[in-house]
């Protein structure tokens, strides 16, 4: 009985990890390939300070978001680990 539940916890843990990973990768794609490349011309109609928005994402914005994404991942993984009793 005990073993079964630990296997279930393991499966739930992995599913939560995958969901989190996919969510963060969608943002990763959106800010770089999306805002910086595919939608650049469209976004360039707005400006951030003196920089066209799409251009700014490609040269600055995407990098800032990347940093935030990794730290969000660290924080969320610790929560998932705690919730499913993986590691203390």
């Amino acid at each position: 009985m005990q073993e079964k539940s630990s296997a279930d916890e393991g499966r739930a843990y992995w599913q939560a990890t995958i969901r989190l990973t996919i969510g963060l990768l969608v943002i990763w794609f959106a800010v770089s390939f999306g805002a910086g490349i595919l939608l650049r011309d469209f976004l360039d109609q707005w400006s951030l300070g003196g920089a066209p928005l799409g251009f700014w994402f490609a040269q600055q914005g995407a990098i800032y978001v990347f940093v935030v994404l990794i730290f969000v991942y660290c924080w969320a993984m610790r929560r998932i680990e705690k919730k499913h009793g993986v590691r203390a």
């Binding site: 390939f33 300070g49 990794i70 660290c74």
Partner: protein, 577 residues
Amino acid sequence: MLDPWTLFFVVTTFALYIGIAIWARAGSTDDFYVAGHDVHPTVNGMATAADWMSAASFLSMAGLIAFMGYGGSVYLMGWTGGYVLLALLLAPFLREFGKFTVPDFVGDRYYSTTARVIAVVCALFVSFTYIAGQMKGVGVAFSGFLGVPFEWGIIIGMVIVFFYAVLGGMKGVTYTQVAQYCVLIFAFTVPAIFMSLIITGNPVPQLGFIGEAKGEGVSMLAKLNTVITDLGFLEYTETNKSMIDVFCITAALMFGTAGLPHVIIRFFTVKSADAARVSAGWALIFIAILYTTAPAVGAFARINFIDTVNEATYIADDEDYEARSAEIEAAGGKPVPQWYKDWEPTGLVAFEDKNGDGVMQYRGPNAPDGIENEVSPNNDIFVLANPQIANLPGWVIGLVVAGGLAAALSTAAGLLMVISSAVSHDLCRRTLFKSMDDKTELRVARGAAAGAVFAAGLLGIFSNSLGFVAQVVAFAFGLAAASLFPVIFLGIFWKRMNKEGAVASMLTGLITTFGYIYWFKFVDTDPKNWLFGVSPEGIGFVFMWLAAGVGVVITLATKPPPKEILELVQKIRVPVS
């Protein structure tokens, strides 16, 4: 042009690196390969940043962006976005696996010596192409600044790296990389802050980049666009690369970054999977400091260059610079700046007076006034000459030289660790002489590191024909993306992946990417013949999918991996509670 400050900074920083090497001597193979799995995540982040940022990042990238404008974004996004992939998809799982090297993982996960050996070949190939560029950078820095011949510059660099890589192994490399990061980031940001103040009045380059040109009422980027289109260049915020090519190059650099063995092994040096995640975050923060400053430096440098050089009256070497420049100024003209004359002997800037008027005309391919371009600057000149262009004190130049050397040496050392561990651990211990004991393996590892230093030096000396950034980088990233990334990724996220699939996938990625890059870099250089319009720099991304696809198909056609492998993957995914 031997400057006492340059000598001072170079000698001091080199002494520091050797001191650290002696302090951090490796006592076991654990120490040698992975610094005892015991490096603090923040420290590892800093070491990873230095490991990662090469001579190309430090010297060439800002200049490349200055010339390419928006097109330079591929490097900015590509070389940072890869860390997100690394942190989310590879680093924590490989750390959980808990061995020493990338071929270690491939060999164990795919229960196959063949797979291990192919991974060794990929790792060696990627690392050697990369290291040749670093050694060449060291040679250039020495010959340009310290008046030492190119070959001797490389030999001095080899001796320094030999010291801390062979003595200290990963432990020595880690702590020297931390010191090297501090040197290089200081050297990069100080001139950038001053330039930002001069051009935009804002001390933060990232804010100056989106701010107004000082006292002109227009944004800095709008001013730059006007200035360069008037000279016949493309707008700074535009590119002449196709969207699909920009997309593929960015992606190839990202996946290549995540698949580069010398970056991955840095994450074996921390304590746990959690530490690996945090460490990737710190690494990216430290990298982002340089990578968000670089586009600002590029834009400022372009403005400065045009301001000071275009339409300046040239002063030949046989004329008295002081007297002649005073004369030109008195006549209402603009003399060629002092920094230009200082750098002219290095060949990084060149002037050819095509219309014979004695004035330097800098023009793009579509100049409205129809004047032919007469000035050809090299990418590297911008970072190197910035301190002088911004009128900074002489010691800042010495600092920039030390920074460039730190960037080249730290990357070279990280690559040497990959080469030495691939030979001593993966080839000797795990493949050829399985009964080898730890002491012998440590000796072999030191010997392999020494041999690799020697080989890298030779490659650097004979690499004059290799392009510094374009050719070499295309090879290393394309191959890492197409050959290593798919098997590592599938090995973690798809339990069914088996050894037949892995071998087929690595070979497909390696052969197609190598063939394509070789063909379009050296045989047929006409962009019209590119597959889907994708340049050799970006093709790794296309063949990565092909390699993954071949791996999946072959796997499904052959029998599943044994039970203990499924358990191994499960353990990597879900750590035992």
